[in-house]
């Protein structure tokens, strides 16, 4: 906390060789520079030789630049790039489990509907809401629902893909 760096949230997309250990190597570069990873998604690509890692993290732009350089240097990293929200489509998925009472259920569903979130499970007094949207939208609904006894919350982490001709 004594860090005086200006902290911004950054989204970095890595195209990496699909090999054991590559996640550790990338994570080490973040840890070494004291960068905290907020979310991380590893997923396959159209080519089985490569995987995609999408990482969001907080820190100063200077430190981020260093991390991108350090990770780009890794043999198993093909490409590492920061993506601004403007040039990309970004999405995140949240699954929110709430314990409802007869009086809160309609309110919860109404709020969910406003965000185009869906009720996907209902067992005993537990509801699960699925919310797909931008990180900001997810944050917003989450803040609202927190008042209604959220018992568990799982988020996928941010996914980004470059628009148009650009590659991610």
């Amino acid at each position: 906390m004594a860090n005086t760096d200006k902290k911004d949230i950054h989204t970095i997309s890595f195209l990496v060789a699909n090999k054991p250990g590559v996640l550790v190597r990338v994570a080490l570069a973040f840890a070494k520079r004291g960068f905290n990873i907020d979310s991380l998604v590893v997923s396959p690509t159209t080519n089985a030789k490569f995987s995609r890692m999408t990482i969001t993290a907080q820190g100063s732009p200077e430190t981020l630049e260093q991390i991108i350089k350090q990770t780009s240097k890794l043999i198993d990293v093909i490409r590492a790039e920061e993506h601004s929200e403007k040039e990309t489509i970004h999405r995140e998925l949240a699954l929110i489990k709430l314990k409802h009472t007869p009086s809160t259920k309609p309110i919860i569903l109404k709020q969910a509907e406003k965000f185009k979130a869906k009720l996907i499970s209902e067992e005993e007094s537990f509801l699960i809401i699925e919310h797909l949207g931008t990180t900001a939208q997810l944050d917003e609904l989450e803040a609202i629902l927190k008042k209604y006894n959220v018992v568990e919350l799982v988020r996928s982490g941010k996914l980004v893909i470059a628009k148009g001709r650009d590659s991610t």
């Binding site: 990496v16 060789a17 054991p20 250990g21 550790v24 190597r25 080490l28 070494k32 200077e62 630049e65 260093q66 350089k69 350090q70 780009s72 240097k73 890794l74 043999i75 198993d76 990293v77 093909i78 490409r79």
Partner: protein, 566 residues
């Protein structure tokens, strides 16, 4: 395989063949259970295996070999403790960008991750200190992996690459082609610099009246000696070097100001303070030359050439930079520059040289710098010098002028005590015809003293100078200067009679304990044709100056010992 009757070969045999294809001359190490199949195939190989007495000795030998030959070194160790014994040496090589390929044995694949006997996750343990590493899971991958390992270790910014081979992989039958392509799409090796970047740099250089070239290890690794010299002479610019940049520009040259930094020459540091432009060629502006970035070369333009883009802007924000191989970048840069009028500036530097020369004083007893100065003159500056760490190292850097970067070994980034002597052994293997001098402290030498065996068995004529000040001298110096001389944990009481130790290994021992006989004994040692250890009993409390305290800029340099010395 079906039509032709092929002899079945195992992973071990393939591995050795691949190492031979890489023209490996020597492999340094110690065997163990999981390595026996590999060692079996070494029996009929061209590769000479050098059995060391500790794996740390092996990895430092590979390091010394690599630095003085420019070829990758090879070290081999068994699973578990054998592999972990390498760790200090791997880190030493990593910090100094040294190409080493490390082969470690591993437990059989079905037992991986199950705490098998002598299992260590050496890939995990070394991940932060290697350039790359491989766990070989399929015998058929061996040719590709070994090819990649050598390529990665020795190109771009070099570094250690570890290959971990489970025992069952080394005994499996190989069923693929030996000739395999590399598959490393994420690995790029910068070569020539960007044309526009070089033009910009040349433009900035034009405006300088007081330019200074800062030669780092990158110059030496790139073998850019000729180009650095051409640049300095064309610009008429003085040159300073880092500890590992020694020899990147001949230190006997008129334009050389020697080493800068914490224990650099006063004139190098004065030039640093007063230059109006500094061009780093393969140095990473580290904290031993730049204790305080805020006060570093204030107002001077900073230019940076480095093959590793991650070094650009890491410490110092450069006014202009070029990413590329030093030699190639300089070739292009030299074409674009004009000689500068630096006569005033050179006069100023000359004045610093005259005013603040390096010095030592034997009036209170034999000193280490004097011995090194004698070694320098007696070897006419032609020896390969391998230092250990501490005061002995700093005096070596000050007093042994190096004209070719491949003649110098010192642990810069890591400052690893105990590396110097085994590195000298490795260097002598690599350059058998040259004079190799090891300069060690009494503390550091005792960390890898067991390699006297290796030196004796192979009759390597290394001249091992053990500077016995009976202290962990460099730490004692800091305690004296910054902690009121309250000595704590630095007394090496109980040092052995090093001459007897040498003789115990069948090595010639020579003792030097006074100024009067020093030169003759040093000469005797240097003229001796076999392995020799020179036990130098020196003034116990002599300190290295100049000195810039840690974390401070060159403005705070102490050229001489503080007056109020107790």
């Amino acid at each position: 395989m079906t039509d032709k009757q092929k002899k079945q070969i195992t992973g071990s045999e393939v591995l050795i063949k691949c190492l031979e294809n890489q023209e490996v001359e020597y492999a340094f190490g110690i065997p163990g259970g999981v390595l026996i199949p590999i060692f079996d195939k070494l029996v009929n190989s061209k590769i000479k295996f050098i059995l060391t007495r500790h794996e740390q000795g092996a990895i430092h030998m590979a390091d010394g070999y690599a630095r003085v030959t420019g070829k990758p070194g090879v070290a081999i160790a068994t699973s578990g403790p054998g592999a972990t014994n390498l760790v200090t040496g791997i880190m030493t090589a990593h910090m100094d960008s040294i190409p080493i390929v490390i082969i470690t044995g591993q437990v059989v694949t079905p037992l991986l991750g199950k705490d098998a006997f002598q299992e260590a996750d050496i890939i995990g343990i070394t991940m932060p200190i290697v350039k790359h590493s491989y766990l070989v899971k399929n015998v058929n991958d061996i040719p590709r992996i070994i090819k990649e390992a050598f390529y990665i270790a020795s190109t771009g910014r070099p570094g250690p690459v570890l290959v971990d081979i489970p025992k069952d992989v080394s005994t499996d039958i190989f069923a693929a082609d030996m000739d395999q392509e590399m598959d490393i799409p994420g690995y790029k090796v910068p070569a020539k610099g960007d044309k526009k970047d070089i033009e910009r740099m040349a433009g900035i250089l034009k405006g300088s009246k007081k330019p200074l070239l800062l030669v780092g290890h990158g110059s030496v690794i790139s073998s850019a000696e000729k180009e650095v010299k051409a640049l300095a002479e064309k610009l008429r610019a003085p040159v300073v070097s880092t500890l590992l940049g020694k020899g990147g520009f001949p230190e006997s040259h008129d334009l050389s100001l020697g080493m800068l930094g914490m224990h650099g020459t006063a004139y190098a540091n004065k030039a640093l303070i007063n230059c109006d432009l500094i061009l780093s060629i393969g140095s990473r502006w580290d904290d031993r030359i730049n204790g305080n970035t805020e006060e570093f070369c204030i107002g001077a333009k900073k230019l940076h050439i480095d093959i590793d883009e991650a070094e650009i802007g890491k410490i110092v924000k450069a006014d202009s930079y070029v990413v590329g191989d030093a030699k190639l970048v300089l070739r292009d840069l030299i074409k674009l520059i004009e000689p500068l009028d630096t006569s005033e500036w050179l006069k100023e530097c000359e004045y610093y040289k005259k005013q603040f020369p390096l010095k030592y004083d034997n009036s209170k007893g034999l000193t280490i710098p004097y011995i090194i100065d004698e070694i320098y003159h007696l070897t006419k500056g032609k020896a390969i010098v391998c230092t250990d760490v501490g005061q002995n190292q700093m005096w070596s850097a000050q007093f042994y002028k190096i004209d070719d970067g491949k003649d110098w070994y010192s642990s810069g980034g890591a400052g690893t005590m105990g590396c110097g002597f085994p590195a000298a052994v490795g260097a002598q293997f690599g350059r058998p015809k040259d004079i190799v001098v090891a300069i060690c402290g009494d503390g550091g030498f005792q960390m890898t003293i067991q390699e006297l065996s290796t030196m004796a068995i192979h009759k390597l004529p290394v001249k091992v100078f053990v500077m016995d000040n009976k202290y962990l001298g460099m730490v004692r110096q800091w305690q004296e200067l910054f902690f009121d001389n309250r000595l704590s944990g630095v007394d090496l009481l109980g040092n052995p009679d090093f001459v007897k130790v040498a003789e115990g290994y069948g090595i010639k021992g020579i003792n030097i304990n006074d100024v009067k006989h020093a030169r003759a004994r040093i000469k005797e040692a240097l003229d001796y044709k076999g392995p020799v250890l020179i036990h130098c009993e020196v003034h116990k409390e002599y300190n290295v100056f100049p000195m810039i305290p840690a974390g401070k800029s060159a403005f705070h340099m102490m050229i001489d010992p503080p007056k109020a010395k107790k």
